[in-house]
């Protein structure tokens, strides 16, 4: 049976792609970009889990220095890569919002079917 994390990540990807293809308002397209990013991050983090027989794995942090020496821990590499990707998602959203404000100032509406004239 397919694990539940993958089903949730692919449902978020499908909802993001559907909204990106079928909606006409510019702000809804920007929100759809954010939903696609969140689905990809959930998929990447759930690849780092680890199933052992006896014990449950814990987070990779040694709070007391000597107590957690040999216990199994979740893989820390996908979490480091997703941290970089979240910041890049925020940067893309900031630039997209600035461009949307300028487009509304020039054309007067937020409908993408009306942004057709190429002007200098």
């Amino acid at each position: 049976m397919i694990p539940l994390q993958f089903i949730t990540a692919f449902l978020m990807l499908f909802m993001g792609f559907y909204a990106f293809l079928y909606k006409r308002n510019l702000l809804k397209l920007i929100l759809a970009l954010d939903v696609i990013d969140s689905g990809i991050h959930l998929l990447l983090i759930s690849f780092g889990y680890r199933l052992e027989d006896g014990t449950l794995p814990t987070a990779p942090i040694y709070t007391g220095y000597e107590t957690l020496k040999g216990t199994p821990m979740v893989g820390p590499i996908p979490q480091a890569l997703v941290l970089t990707s979240i910041v890049i998602g925020v940067c893309v959203l900031a630039l997209a919002t600035a461009l949307t404000i300028n487009a509304y100032r020039h054309y007067g509406s937020l409908d993408i079917n009306k942004l057709r004239r190429l002007r200098g």
Binding site: P3, L13, L51, P60, I61, A80, V87, A94, L95
Partner: protein
């Protein structure tokens, strides 16, 4: 025309899900025991030798800032460029000074 395109996109994404996430021939979800030592030896090296080489007890932070610090320099550059571009796009133009 548009509705068939949407139906084809949905079928494509669900087909990729069924092939990739299948437990027999696809990406494995939770490795453990012998397979962890075989496929994920880099994670095991960072967990074991992280404290005596870097000195911080938070393994994720000392991957981000010491073992893979070059990616963090690139991310700081992208953040700076995006904020500078967004602030520069929202200034006054020459034609509407009061």
């Amino acid at each position: 025309m548009k509705r068939t395109f949407g139906a084809l996109a949905l079928l494509f994404i669900l087909g990729v899900l069924l092939i990739v996430a299948h437990p027999n021939y696809g990406l494995k979800f939770g490795l453990g025991g012998k397979e962890w030592q075989g496929y994920r030896y880099t994670d095991q090296y960072y967990i074991e030798h992280g404290i005596e080489e870097v000195g911080g007890t938070n393994i994720v932070t000392d991957i981000v800032f010491d073992y893979r610090g070059y990616d963090t320099i690139g991310e700081a550059t992208v953040l700076f460029t995006a904020i500078a571009g967004a602030v520069a796009l929202l200034r006054r133009w020459r034609e509407d000074y009061e």
